[in-house]
């Protein structure tokens, strides 16, 4: 199909590189936020890729290995937040630990996540329902802007999925 025969965009290549690196270091992560929605058809643009992981000593070691694999390093943007940001790479990756806004814990988000193939690498991706719930709970200005489009995307995808059976 022609639509699938184009050259991958730089964004796709970056996502494939990230998925490959997560697989290589064995990081158990779920893509959340706007990128998760984009992977399910939402016509959005975003500034970064958000990953949800468990806060464990082993995962900290894997995150260091991930940074080395991608040629970046981690920094915390605020003492008030545990979010770690990968800098020095072509694009930004944020790591969220243990739960999303709205009390959506890692185990729950992962149990419902889609398993997508991204350039031959498995990637767990939060459902649209969980992305919407977390953005509704976070309630930042950018979340409020994205919510109507995310809700419409969820309705459209639901119709397509019913059709596909």
């Amino acid at each position: 199909m022609a639509g699938a025969d184009r050259s991958p965009s730089p964004d796709e290549r970056w996502l494939v590189e990230l998925a490959a690196a997560c697989q290589a270091v064995g990081l158990d992560a779920v893509v959340v936020g706007a990128t998760a929605a984009v992977l399910q058809g939402a016509p959005l643009m975003t500034q970064d890729v958000d990953l949800l992981v468990r806060s464990t000593v082993r995962n900290q070691a894997k995150l260091q290995a991930l940074a080395r694999a991608l040629g970046g390093s981690w920094m915390r943007l605020s003492e008030l937040s545990s979010v770690q940001t990968l800098v020095g790479c072509p694009l930004q990756v944020d790591i969220l630990f243990d739960a999303l806004p709205g009390g959506l814990r890692f185990e729950l988000v992962k149990s419902r996540a889609l398993r997508l193939d991204v350039g031959g690498h498995p990637l767990a991706v939060a459902t649209l329902a969980d992305v919407i719930a977390s953005k509704r709970a976070a309630n930042r200005p950018k979340d409020r802007v994205q919510l109507p489009l995310l809700e419409e995307t969820a309705r459209i995808v639901a119709v397509v999925e019913r059709r596909e059976g």
Partner: protein
Amino acid sequence: MARPPVAKPAVPPADAYRDRLAALFAEVAPQLPDIDPAVVLQVLDAWLRPVGSGGGRRFLLREGPDGRRGP
């Protein structure tokens, strides 16, 4: 002299993709009359060629030299 038969042009793959997208759109859009058809089309297009499948989609904003963000 008889003219050689004119070869029937092969249907370009792009048309096959457009036809599949159009058929899906024609089925789904009427079920969601309150949603902008342009949004329905964008989501269906993304459904048929998702990010990661080599469909060529861009979704990440980058900061340009002027500080503005764009694809």
